[in-house]
Amino acid sequence: MPDSQGDIDREIADIATAAAKAVAGGEPEPEHVSRDYPPYRSSVLRHPRLPLILTEEADTELRGPVFGVTDVTELDRDLTRHHPGEPLGERITVSGRVLDRSGRPVRGQLVEVWQANASGRYAHDRDQHPAPLDPNFTGTGRCLTDDEGRYHFTTIKPGAYPWRNHVNAWRPAHIHFSVFGTAFAQRLVTQMYFPNDPLFRYDPIFNSVPSESARQRMIAAYDHDLSSPEWSLGYRWDIVLDGPSATWMEEGR
């Protein structure tokens, strides 16, 4: 019999209880996901069982690829202008800063986004959700961060969509983000969520991050100052890249 939402809820709750107990017992609050997270069924065969190997000889990983104006176009950041017509949905602006762990801006680096349309459908052939495609929306964008580490996108608010992890599984609305730091070891692919989504508690991907405070770091804030009069609603979301201490102590890059 396929898993029900109740089965998934119980597994999520059991793992959360164990994680809270560990923290109460003196373990540090976890900052990242557990790759081994059975409520997300696809993770079961796709995570290493052996511990990661800590390596200190890592000159290559402490540097990283460089992107420049040749790698983006000015229009790439405005996902509402990639087709002749206007996409359907709620127009939003999403902006924030990319920082390293010591709070310094990550300058001139590439940020890529992709997302479903307002109906919750991706412009991807394998997305078979019977919601309408929007001929005026593809849902991919990119930009370089500025000197303060700021990125900026104009898009439409993505819809929630169903998936087949279990019966009646729905993803909370999200925008996928891919971010580069100055070191390859700072690479991040994640998802930005919207405040107060009622689907958070049911979603094993969102809940694969075991601590509440860490989950909050994936949720954008509605920012009225970022909203444009009679044009778009604004969301602010800062991104902090993890990375080896040698990276964030290094000056000047």
Binding site: E31, H32, V33, S34, R35, S42, S43, V44, L45, R46, H47, P48, R49, L50, L52, I53, L54, T55, E56, A58, D59, T60, E61, L62, R63, G64, P65, V66, F67, G68, V69, T70, D71, V72, T73, D76, L99, Y122, H124, R126, G139, H176, S178, F184, R187, L188, V189, T190, Q191, I205, F206, S208, S213, A214, R217, M218, I239, V240, D242, S245
Partner: protein
């Protein structure tokens, strides 16, 4: 500051992240070009058709400065223009195909310092993988590399490509299982 947690790349990155020529770091037909290739497998030994791999490496002289232009865009119509055949960018990105296979055409990286053993750094993303994984591709086993030297022979072998005909080098990535790849963390 506390880091933003990772989330899986999911199943639908395919129209957003891979790009034409993403795996072509070296021009076709260049006498020094090598093809590095392999499969990605899951814990049941099944090929993974929805993984995304990124590669970052030194240039043939060992330089790690990188150059822009890995994803050059046509500024007229926003299509991908391909690399410029002059600058070596050091970065490649390829998705596995329906068979779970990937390939990159590149130059062998040079040593980044005296006594350093060259390698290509690899970052693995996949549907089902909640947080990316780092590994490396070495072209030969070497006791003078501290990472290789620290590993048992069977684990070490997961990082060393096997040379094949015509300048090809094969390395399979096993996300889990008996032949699980050595994955790395940096601190």
């Amino acid at each position: 500051m506390k880091p933003t947690p990772s989330q899986t790349v999911g199943p639908f990155y395919g129209y957003a992240l891979p790009y034409p020529g993403g795996g072509e770091l070296a021009p076709a037909g260049h006498p020094d070009a090598v093809v590095v290739h392999g499969f990605v497998y899951d814990g049941a030994g099944e090929p993974v058709p929805d993984a995304l791999l990124e590669f970052w490496q030194a240039d043939p002289g060992g330089g790690l400065d990188g150059e822009p232009g890995s994803m050059r865009k046509d500024q007229v119509n926003r299509s991908f223009a391909g690399r410029d055949l002059v600058r070596f960018t050091g970065f490649a990105r390829v998705a596995t195909d329906a068979d779970g296979q990937w390939a990159v055409r590149t130059f062998r990286p040079g040593a980044t310092g005296p006594g350093r053993v060259p390698y290509i750094s690899v970052c693995v993303f996949a549907r089902g993988l909640l947080h990316h994984l780092y590994t490396r591709i070495y072209f030969e086993d070497s006791a003078s590399d501290p990472l290789l030297a620290s590993l048992e022979p069977d684990r070490r072998a997961t990082l060393v490509a096997t040379a094949g005909p015509g300048g090809t080098h094969r390395l399979d990535i096993h996300l889990q299982g008996e032949r699980e790849t050595v994955f790395l963390e940096f601190r």
